[in-house]
Symmetry: D2
Subunit: 145 residues, 4 copies
């Protein structure tokens, strides 16, 4: 996956401002730890109030960071003034979301004029290891506003 060029010279500021306006990311305690043209990394510390019935992080929370990372990977490539909407995503859950921090890494694999296809993988980091948790394949739409 390579060689995307940002069309918005201020894409870092634009992405940051949008990310910081997402109240749900704040509620979940998510931080953006990586951003390049066409890719984005988010981290969410595990918390006891984000769990499903077996004490693992809930797939909804995992999806939230996978989708958001995918959205900002795509958003980093749009021209100034454009917006990004999630069209759809599909996610496979690979292992229980167990660990200290969940990490979502998204990469655009196809950047079209209107639609972008993004791969977003979630891993769980903890005790010196990193385990695959989920694999997402998502479609994003660029909207001129």
């Amino acid at each position: 996956m390579a060689g995307f060029t940002a069309r918005n010279p201020a894409f870092r500021e634009t992405v940051r401002a949008s990310f910081e306006s997402q109240t749900f990311m704040r509620t979940l305690g998510v931080r953006m730890t990586g951003l390049e043209p066409g890719s984005c990394v988010l981290e969410m510390p595990s918390r006891p109030d984000l769990c499903q019935q077996n004490g693992f992080v809930h797939a909804g929370a995992t999806t939230a960071i996978a989708d958001t990372a995918a959205g900002y990977a795509a958003f980093s490539l749009v021209p100034p003034g454009a917006n990004i909407l999630t069209v759809e995503f599909k996610m496979n859950l690979l292992n229980p979301a167990e660990g200290e921090v969940l990490v979502a890494r998204a990469e655009v694999i196809k950047s079209g004029r209107t639609l972008m296809v993004v791969r977003s993988d979630v891993t769980a980091r903890g005790k010196g290891t990193e385990t695959p948790v989920a694999a997402m394949l998502a479609t994003m739409m660029s909207l001129q506003t």
Copy 2:
């Protein structure tokens, strides 16, 4: 979609107990308002701390209730002692998640020995209308414990 029979006579209590142990559902303020063999309804009041950058409910929160409703629709059909895991889901976002309450309605469309396929639709209710927000198609796995 019809005519599923619960194999666990105490499926209501089993589902409730599991749902109440999901801390993420509590964090999101989700209530279970419907449960029959093979179907489940969840409701999540809109809240300012669950939003994405445009002020609509975040797709991650929408996914959380769609996936959870799908899981309990499947869980209502398993024999006593079995567990349910989400294998994967795909979700199309149809309209902005705007309204007072988001409602997820899930129905099992195929109940196999090991796998169940579930449709889960999310709508937004408010001002006397109900708007489609998302359509999910999910696969659940029954695990004997």
Copy 3:
């Protein structure tokens, strides 16, 4: 699912002409047996040269009719001169594709300006019964040419 209005008064002729130009549909022996604004039905007789390793119709052939029905359900709604492309689809296989005829029934569930979301279900008909074979959820894009 209801109440779509065709914007192309000649949508039947336009859809037919497009369908007849799909050589793969001819190769598979597929016929269009239903077409209304926002919906489409295709039928494919089972044939020994369309099978997978267990003698059932191959998921690729099943997908071909599910996707094509979804595409024409969407295509029936576009204005004159527009084209339809498949963006993506997800398909769950529910039962072996065994029977005399496979039937794909597609219905648009959301018709946007650029994107349409379509549900497409495949059943197997034979010996007086009809069995669910596959459930597809697809995204189509309308392109002005």
Copy 4:
């Protein structure tokens, strides 16, 4: 993606025999050009009788090789006597399927006891270049027979 070990010492023969019994692969002219534990490569020459309305290879044919490659990537890992069924797949179409040969490359990304998750990518080769055509994410189930 790495380091899968085949549990069936005769996996090559077992996979080949199964592949050769798929009449649909013969109908489409597909050849298996790569097989290792956890991965599989299939090639399908473009043909005028496999096309959609714009003269590109039909998404159904592309899906057929993506799904089959995914299935045999998974099948290469099962113990002797087990079978593989496709549970579901999701496919994004990235570019028109235009070229002399379509190539599907599948890799298992998670191998569980019952379920396997497989990535399968299709490219179009021709005129000295190779273009991405489709990205699939699939779930396979291993069945003891």
